[in-house]
């Protein structure tokens, strides 16, 4: 039984047995609980994956004491964070200081709404899906700036300002590379974008501009999630921890969790736009081949692609040295932005002439 039939069955059963309003509320509650569960699992898995990938890249063992191959290390870390004191230092702006982690976590949860996790599994198929993601993701910078300003700490303030300049700059090229796919598809809806890739993913169908856009999107995604080599907002050797220097205990854990969930969200968007989301690997009208590929469940395809992109972003961390702020800004404003502007023109010509497959 696939996820889609299960979800439809639950939906129909609720509406048959309960009053429609109550059924809707129950559905909201189920979605909320499921998303909280996804959050917790993603946090545990991604932190573990990060540490295992790091150790693998550096030829060391990584966490290997707790549980089989150290897989329960993150559970132990979470327990430790729960019993740590989430202190509020003197002279901080108490309201903003405590609100910032909440805001960041709300943003990273609301952004989950238009993502298609599998065939038919989507919280809200909003007709401006991609624009919604771009709009909501830029809200998280407000949380970062709030945390940096409220902390009453020089490191935090500098880290927040750097983070602001960086996220704001790279949003432009991320948005322009998303637009390439919107031009090719002619729709902002996530389900339409996925269905348009039924005979091949945009990365392969979209000619040169789709490939350029994919590369730019990955760079911008790395920068927007403050990952190395763009991690100068929380560069350990310069600013201890950047905007969350003063945070401890559960408040720090919320920032940390939101950061990893944001990596997942960005990679999920990249997988949906360029690699076809839950759509299996199809080649044009090769009926037999496409049928074989359809046997792999859609959720496996989606999470496989997403985790592949996450692995690539983790790979970057151990490959490139950290950039300076002037290098970071000139990379965006002098290279990526003009390139992605010309890329838009190129894709328009290709889409209008019908040269894409």
């Amino acid at each position: 039984m696939s996820f889609e039939t299960l979800a439809n069955w639950v939906h129909n059963w609720l509406y048959e047995t309960l009053h429609p309003t109550v059924a809707l509320l129950v559905e909201f509650a189920i979605v909320g609980v499921l998303i909280i569960g996804l959050f917790a699992v993603l946090g545990l898995v991604l932190v573990m994956m990060e540490r295992k990938v790091s150790s693998w890249m550096q030829l060391r063992l990584g966490p290997n004491r707790i549980g089989p191959w150290g897989w329960f290390q993150t559970v132990a870390d979470t327990l430790k964070l729960i019993v740590k004191e989430g202190m509020t230092p003197n002279n901080v702006d108490k309201l903003l200081f405590n609100m910032a982690p909440m805001l960041v976590i709300v943003v990273s949860m609301v952004i989950m709404a238009p993502i298609m996790f599998a065939k038919g599994i989507q919280i809200w198929d909003i007709n401006i899906g991609v624009l919604f993601v771009a709009a909501v993701s830029s809200l998280s910078i407000i949380g970062v700036l709030m945390a940096g300003w409220a902390s009453n700490n020089k490191y935090s303030l500098l880290g927040a300002m750097r983070s602001g300049a960086q996220i704001v700059s790279y949003e432009l090229s991320a948005g322009l590379s998303i637009l390439v796919i919107v031009v090719l598809t002619g729709s902002l809806k996530m389900s339409d974008i996925v269905m348009a890739q039924a005979d091949g993913w945009w990365l392969f169908k979209g000619h040169v501009p789709a490939i350029i856009a994919f590369v730019i999107f990955i760079i911008a995604a790395t920068a927007e999630t403050n990952r190395a080599p763009f991690d100068l907002a929380e560069a350990e050797s310069e600013l201890t921890a950047g905007f969350h220097t003063e945070y401890s205990g559960m408040k720090f854990a919320l920032f940390f969790l939101a950061e990893y969930v944001n990596i997942f969200v960005v990679c999920a968007i990249g997988a949906t736009l360029f690699l076809g989301g839950w759509m299996p690997f199809h080649i044009g009208n090769w009926e037999g081949f496409n049928h074989v590929m359809d046997y792999i469940p859609s959720s496996v395809w989606f999470f496989g692609k997403t985790f592949l992109l996450i692995f690539v972003i983790m790979w970057f961390r151990w490959t490139f040295p950290r950039l300076r702020i002037d290098q970071l800004l000139s990379l965006e404003w002098k290279y990526l932005l003009p390139i992605s502007m010309f890329n838009i023109l190129l894709v328009t010509i290709i889409a209008l002439a019908g040269w894409h497959f």
Partner: protein, 116 residues
């Protein structure tokens, strides 16, 4: 599921954060001492105010960003209909990009894209 799902997700997020924070409040043993509330600056006592002046360059980049972000918002509706409108859309966006690119060149010439 409609726009209500966004409110449901926001409430779920707040509930998640609230539960996590209150569990840790229940479990932890808080302690106080004189230096615990000081700003963390690697053990060195803080000098002066912590909310210091920072480089004006951040504001410059924020201003340029604002222009380009508004341009990006204009491009979204264009991108949706470009296939239906046809080659006229390309000509129009060429004019739009030409003006915009002049702006970027001007900012570059003025040195606004250099970090000082």
């Amino acid at each position: 599921m409609g726009a209500g799902s966004l409110i449901a997700l926001a409430i779920a997020a707040l509930a998640f954060a609230g539960i996590a924070l209150s569990i840790s409040k229940l479990v932890l043993k808080a302690s106080t001492n004189k230096q615990k509330g000081e700003p963390y600056e690697c053990g060195v006592p803080t000098k002066g105010a912590s909310r210091i002046q920072f480089n004006v360059g951040y504001y410059l980049f924020a201003l340029i960003f604002l222009i380009f972000d508004v341009e990006l918002v204009f491009l979204y509706p264009w991108a949706v209909v470009v296939k239906n409108v046809g080659w006229v859309a390309l000509v129009e966006i060429l004019i739009f990009f030409f003006i915009l690119f002049l702006g970027l060149l001007y900012a570059h010439k003025k040195g606004a894209l250099e970090w000082k």
